[in-house]
Amino acid sequence: MEKVLVNQNEMTLDNEVKVKRPLKQRIKDEWRKNALVYIILVPVLAHFLVFQVIPFVYSFILTFLNYRIIGVSEFVGLRNWTQLFKDDIAWKSIWNTILFSIYYIVPTMALGLILALIIKSGIHFTKLIKGVFFLPVVTSFVVVAGIWEWLFSGTESGFINYLLSFLGINTQLFLSDSKQALIVLAGLSIFKVSGSTMIYYFAGLQSIPKEMYEAAKIDGASSFKSFWMITFPLLKPIHFYVLIITTIGSFQIFDSAYLLTSGGPNFSTSTIVYYLYSIGFTNLNFSYAAVLSYVLFAIILVISLIQRKYFGNDQSMY
């Protein structure tokens, strides 16, 4: 709404200096030219203000309040922020999230690249299999987690334990073991996301000119060698892009921690967003939850800025 008013003010100025036409005529012309823009953009900007900008600002204000659901909220200065530094579970959640990223990012990239190489290898049925690899991407976490919970049940009747027994490995606790639970969650995310990293790599592979491989072949390079000398280095921009988006995704992990472990055992799968959720909607401490959400924002902002620095602006935004 405001934007339009500003526009019109600027127009009046323009009008007085340059074009000596009456204001009414000027507005009429602009309307004739850009009516669609104003009809669409005014409600969209109002929507943007209400559902994006105001919540963003309000969230920041919340961090300085002791928000009460009933009654008057009071200003408490930096108290919520200092609480963060004394809160061991918050730090543990941040650490868990970093650990999750370590378990998750490289395998997702590697598996995505392997899948892309398979799809690109020019054999039959690749189109069908490409769909199979992509299927988990469009499936909800709730569905995948339901299956995962059963596959990884920590008893002898668990399917993965059953498979491990053939290798002579003892029954593992998986989700009930505070050392293994986060790895099982990372495994779920790898399964769910590598189909989309495959697509990025597939696009990258297609942009490598065929002549390079032919030249390497003439020089007698094995296909293994030409992968490490040509394919892998030429995919550098894709590696970087995929690295950034999987990193951002890994810091937002919530669903699997909520569905499979509820942050446990012993907070070993409490991630930043899971902790934020439990502080906000179990403990109903909105102000402190807002602080945690700003921690998440700060981390993602830094990653995005790194991305911008290396990628320029236009193509890399999402």
């Binding site: 928000y67 398979i118 299999i129 199979v132 469009v138 299956i147 059963w150 937002q252 999402y318």
Partner: protein
């Protein structure tokens, strides 16, 4: 020859690994069983029954959850397609004061994680009386910045001469958009629709927070909070299968738009 066999073997092995969880899901849904009495291979097909599905359809909450999911998915899908199309056109082709500022503001906001907005939005929706109402999940999703970028990028590649010709024939802005840009940019608009479908249908975080009444749950929350707690794996998997079918069908018919969309969004 040998390398070819190895390639096929690796491909089908990995394909099998990716399919197995889905296979177990569907086969388990056909088994009457409880969680406790499972053996690792209980899902192998013998004596299948549809009783788990019958149980779900007798449970009136279940159909209600599906219905809720449909409502909070379909409206945003079409709305996002429309707004992505028309805003894509506006930002690709129209000239107006403040265009760059608005566009860059949108760009910047994409960096804000949605989890940051959830607490202020919850407070706001409580004041609006939107908790346990469809509006809480529909209205904020009516348009999405990402879709606008996608379509804008696509439309910038459409030759200008086309709309100049249409304008000579007396077409107005909206007609130019509807007759030229929308059909030509349809692949990108369809991509926006498919992504909107998947993200809204699969969303757990937001409905978990805005919907506290069991009757208002979408299927994701219903599955997560009720069915999985009943302790009957067969019924849980029957619910999972039914909730998976719509996304599966969308994926089957629009697979092209998913994969092309991911490529378009990331790379030029």
């Amino acid at each position: 020859m040998l390398t070819k066999i190895v390639k096929y073997f690796v491909m089908f092995f990995l394909g099998f690994c990716f399919l197995l969880p889905f296979l177990i899901m569907v086969l388990s849904s056909l088994k009457e069983t409880t969680y406790a009495s499972l053996d690792p291979l209980f899902w192998l097909p013998d004596n299948p029954s549809l009783n788990n599905f019958a149980y779900l359809f007798r449970n009136d909450n279940f159909l209600r959850w599906i219905f809720n999911s449909v409502i909070v998915t379909i409206i945003p899908v079409f709305s996002q397609m429309f707004f992505a199309g028309i805003l894509g056109y506006i930002f690709a082709r129209k000239q107006f004061v403040g265009k760059e500022v608005i566009f860059w503001t949108f760009m910047a906001v994409i960096m804000i994680p949605q989890q940051l907005l959830i607490i202020p939005k919850f407070i706001m929706f409580s004041k609006f009386g939107w908790i346990n109402e469809y509006q809480a999940l529909i209205v904020p999703e009516l348009w999405a910045i990402m879709g606008v970028f996608l379509v804008r990028q696509f439309m910038q590649g459409i030759p200008m001469e086309l709309d100049e010709a249409a304008r000579m024939d007396g077409a107005n802005d909206f007609q130019v958009f509807r007759k030229i840009y929308m059909p030509l940019a349809f692949p990108s608009i369809a991509t926006v629709g498919t992504f909107a479908f998947v993200s809204n249908w699969n969303d757990l975080f937001q409905p978990l927070i805005y919907m506290t009444n069991e009757k208002m749950y979408p299927i994701t929350v219903g599955l997560a909070s009720t069915l999985s707690k009943e302790g009957n794996f067969g019924i849980e998997m029957a619910g999972a299968t039914l909730s998976f079918i719509p996304t599966f069908l969308i994926f089957l018919f629009f697979q092209k738009y998913f994969t092309e969309g991911i490529q378009m969004s990331g790379l030029k």
